[in-house]
């Protein structure tokens, strides 16, 4: 029996039992969908009623919650900066080999939006994120140049450009759960900006990434003569 057939059978079984008490399998399905915000209204009411009365159901809900927490923790393990450097360099060489079309394009030096300006004017923050900023722009350079100067384009970044990398473990990166940076004024500012952007639990670098994206898109809109907002 194929996976699809097993899944179809499981779905049918679940639907047939819906009118009766939840089986353990169905309870797991309901709790799982609840965690993903994918419960239908009727299912949600039924599950909440069950959680009101069943200690075991509540315990199972906690077990599934713990699974998600552990998975997020696993996904938040930092990747050493040197490793990312090595991968980027290898990709850059491949990109440079592929890029045969010379172009005048380069990383934009455009004014940034108000939110971006507030975040990026601070010189110390610039230092802190300078390594992070350099990642990726080498790719653009390699594409733009379309030459074999990969060893120049992909020269290692200045190691002393980083001031906030305890233990040389590298900065946290997008998708991580955040960093153990000390609370600072600039950290507070970034947190405030993050909230304004709807990034309630984002790390500083995730906020900076979002600001970079906004900056880029705002520049694109200006270039295209489109109204902003």
């Amino acid at each position: 029996m194929s996976d699809e057939e097993r899944e179809t059978r499981a779905t049918r079984t679940m639907q047939e039992s819906r009118a009766t008490e939840p089986t353990p399998e169905e309870l797991d399905a309901l709790l799982s969908a609840r965690r993903d915000g994918a419960l239908e209204a009727g299912e949600a009411a039924r599950l909440e009623a069950l959680l009101e009365t069943s200690e075991a159901a509540r315990l199972r809900a906690l077990e599934l919650e713990r699974v998600d927490a552990m998975l997020r923790a696993l996904a938040a393990e930092p990747i050493p900066e040197a490793r990312l450097d090595r991968i980027e360099a290898a990709l850059g060489r491949r990109v440079a080999e592929t890029a045969t079309r010379p172009s005048a394009a380069r990383a934009p030096e455009t004014p940034i939006g108000e939110k971006g300006r507030r975040a990026t004017d601070d010189a110390s923050r610039e230092r802190r994120v300078s390594r992070r900023r350099s990642r990726g722009f080498g790719l653009a350079a390699a594409l733009a140049a379309g030459v074999v100067l990969a060893t120049v384009v992909w020269a290692p970044r200045e190691k002393n450009a980083v001031v906030d990398e305890p233990g040389g473990q590298g900065l946290p990166i997008a998708g991580t759960a955040g960093t153990a940076e000390p609370a600072t004024r600039e950290g507070d500012e970034l947190a405030t900006l993050g909230r304004e952007l709807g990034l309630e639990d984002a790390s500083d670098l995730e906020v900076i990434e979002e600001l970079e994206l906004l900056e880029f898109l705002a520049a694109r809109e200006r270039d295209a003569g489109e109204p902003q907002g």
Binding site: A29, V67, L71, G136
Partner: protein, 203 residues
Amino acid sequence: MQPIDPDVRLMLAFRDGDESAFGLLYRRWSARLLRYLERIVREPAVAEELLQDAFMRVLDARERYAPEARFSTWLFHIARNLALNELARARSRHPHLSTDEPADRGVPGPPQLVLVASTPAPDEATDARREHARFAAALAELPERQQTALWLAVVEGQSYEEIAGVLGSSVQSVKNLVHRARANLADRMGGTARTVPAAEAKR
């Protein structure tokens, strides 16, 4: 129509000739994709190669790119296909290995997990690391589709519809995969509440 997904807008900018958009896309997605690929192929060096391959595919698709889904859906779809091809190649090299049981492939996990296999010290940090490693091993035991579905739902926050786009399956299938993955992991991590609630619900 103006695409809503900012990454799609980046990709369109790249298609239209803005090279810096490719760098931004790489910066935004490379680490996340690498973590996913490591979990699937379980060999760090291979995951690194596949990450490069995925972005080379993005580069190759530049001129013909047409947004049909969120950029992340497209990117993970590319990465997963590359990973499955790699697993198939590994299986052909070692026919006794199964794609559905990656833990049996005999390849090492990410290096940071190897460190915690040493003799445990009686402190909470060590206990946490051991638990972490145990969870990673349990995750690796899951079939690839369950791993991918759960990873995209929990870590990437993708909707069932988006995950269905990555897996090439139905939304209901994704829903089942995610719940089975969660339940399997809870059970393997020592879950005890699974068999009781139906009886309790009668009360």
